[in-house]
Symmetry: C2
């Protein structure tokens, strides 16, 4: 899953710097580049890396968690950059932000129409796929003249694993 990329190799070979970056599959790399280009932003090593970190383990990490994971293979990345990257990736529509009550924002690579279930017992966050019909009903509940940009649906309770 990891690949070495040799950069800044000096002529006399006395000082080499290696940076480990995660390998983004060609289709995701292309998706990233496209999305960034569309919003006039550059495809950088850090953005690529943060994106790959989020795609690798398809859960719902906080910025801090993303930072920890990102650092393990790119030790020089800063928390501010992680925040910046998460922001640009969200803006570009490559990932989604997920908010639960007063908890830190989490990030989610699942772009399908879905809700989130937060298990108060295990702390687990589970994606809940929603049929279009449910969304249609939700939209139908709005007064005339309202236009929706986004609907965020968050359940909480007890997940299947946490029952007796």
């Amino acid at each position: 899953m990891l690949s070495y990329e040799n950069r800044n190799t000096t002529k006399n070979n006395s000082k080499k710097e290696y940076t480990v970056i995660m390998q983004l599959s060609p289709e995701y790399k292309e998706r990233l580049d496209h999305a960034l280009e569309k919003t006039g932003q550059r495809s950088t090593k850090q953005r690529e890396h943060v994106f790959s970190v989020i795609l690798e383990k398809r859960d719902h990490p906080t910025a801090d968690e993303v930072y920890a994971r990102a650092k393990s293979s790119m030790p020089t990345i800063s928390l501010a950059t992680v925040y910046n990257c998460l922001e640009t990736l969200s803006e570009s529509g490559l990932i989604r932000q997920v908010n639960f009550e007063r908890e830190p924002t989490r990030y989610c690579p699942n772009l399908t129409q879905h809700a989130h279930f937060y298990c108060k017992e295990s702390g687990e966050i589970v994606d809940i796929e929603l049929p279009d019909s449910v969304i249609d009903h939700l939209k139908a509940a709005l007064p005339d003249g309202y236009t929706v940009q986004h609907i965020e649906i968050a359940y909480d309770g007890k997940c299947g694993d946490c029952h007796d």
Copy 2:
């Protein structure tokens, strides 16, 4: 809407302290007392006042806004107390917390099953009443063995007033 309550009247009448508190209608006062009693908590002047402030203007104020409104007729109340009161009122099921993305928590006296629409243009937050059927459909989307405690639904977009 306001009433004076005379307290701490000393025997010689030389030093009276008046505290202005909002009048909670008898049914709400009773509802408050009941709810607090059920959770073994005391009905205090501050809790009563914060409750009345929230009921008075049925919008979705933040803690800071509640604090500002509360202070105008109870100047000695502290922000910490407002937070405490809002917490106990929420726990007792008398008000609801409403969260929008990274915004400060807002508080809502509407206890019916409803969602919130946040207009990105005006900043207005509007209650959206939801038919039971929609909630049923949402519950039906959960995997077997999951039990829901609460579903929070937040729309954002443009409200009717903000269209051309």
